[in-house]
């Protein structure tokens, strides 16, 4: 089945954001919703623009801490506070979502809500009507998903 424009943008945007600003290498990627990593963080936001909808990232606990340390330039992950992990997860969601939307409609501005971060329950299959990708990272995984209204 050919990849949808949404799934392609999700893949390219997530890889670029992780590698450019979060210094996090992607070791593998799988299409579709798949099981969300449990025990970590879920950051979710709503967007309005040419098309409106919701965006979600679910990050495994080990990966969330590593990503936060990388982003902040911290030498020791143990020194990272939970509030910093949460703040970085918000920024990560914000950045990936903005990058996806800019790729899908480069000429029309959009507005993003502030991400809400909650503990990830894990195991759910995501949004069946949207696009989702799961990325294998150091110390775990990250799932990104988008759905349009």
């Amino acid at each position: 089945m050919p990849e949808s424009a949404e799934a392609g943008a999700l893949s390219a945007a997530t890889r670029e954001v992780l590698e450019t600003m979060f210094f996090t290498e992607v070791f593998g990627e799988s299409a579709g919703p798949g099981p969300a990593p449990g025990g970590g963080l879920e950051a979710r936001l709503h967007f309005e623009g040419q098309r409106s909808g919701d965006f979600q990232v679910v990050i495994a606990p080990g990966s969330a801490r590593t990503i936060a340390a990388n982003f902040l330039g911290a030498e020791d992950e143990a020194g990272i506070r939970e509030s910093q992990v949460t703040d970085v997860a918000c920024e990560l969601a914000n950045m990936i979502c903005g990058s996806v939307l800019s790729r899908l409609a480069a000429d029309v501005a959009f507005d993003l809500s502030h991400p809400e971060v909650t503990p990830a329950a894990g195991g759910d299959s995501g949004w069946p009507q949207g696009a989702a990708r799961t990325f294998a990272l150091e110390n775990g995984s990250l799932r990104a998903a988008i759905r349009f209204e």
Binding site: T20, F71, Q84, C97, D111
Partner: protein
């Protein structure tokens, strides 16, 4: 030596921008930080800065409202502003430049891109 104001609601993002500028070699006398556009305006009215880096998507007073307020204030309208945003759409970039921003960087960015934009804007300002 420059005074730099960073306006972003994310402390982590402010920290990253500050670190990128420090590593760029730009001579900075002081970093001033604000969590939204309103806080940025209050700081600007108390103390001048040489350049502002601002996000758009912030609570209370966003980056677009910050630019509009600066444009209406004779003491602030000439302070150069670089927008740092996830929104890479032509409509948004055009709107922010029309409102008076001198530079625009989209996230994610490479440190070199931010450094180049800062040097360009400060160079223009000092010319």
């Amino acid at each position: 030596m420059y005074r730099v104001l960073i306006a972003d609601d994310s402390p982590a993002m402010r920290s990253v921008i500050r670190r990128v500028i420090q590593l760029s070699g730009l001579e900075v006398a002081e970093f001033v930080e604000a969590g939204d556009g309103g806080e940025a305006l209050s700081l600007l009215r108390r103390q001048g800065v040489d350049v502002i880096l601002t996000d758009i998507n912030m609570p209370n007073v966003n980056g677009e409202q910050l630019l509009r307020s600066m444009r209406q204030d004779n003491s602030l309208r000439r302070t150069p502003v670089i927008v740092v945003s996830t929104d890479a759409t032509e409509q948004r970039i055009h709107r922010m430049l029309e409102l008076g921003a001198q530079g625009y960087i989209t996230k994610p960015f490479y440190p070199e891109a931010l450094r180049a934009e800062l040097e360009r804007v400060l160079g223009v300002w000092n010319a």
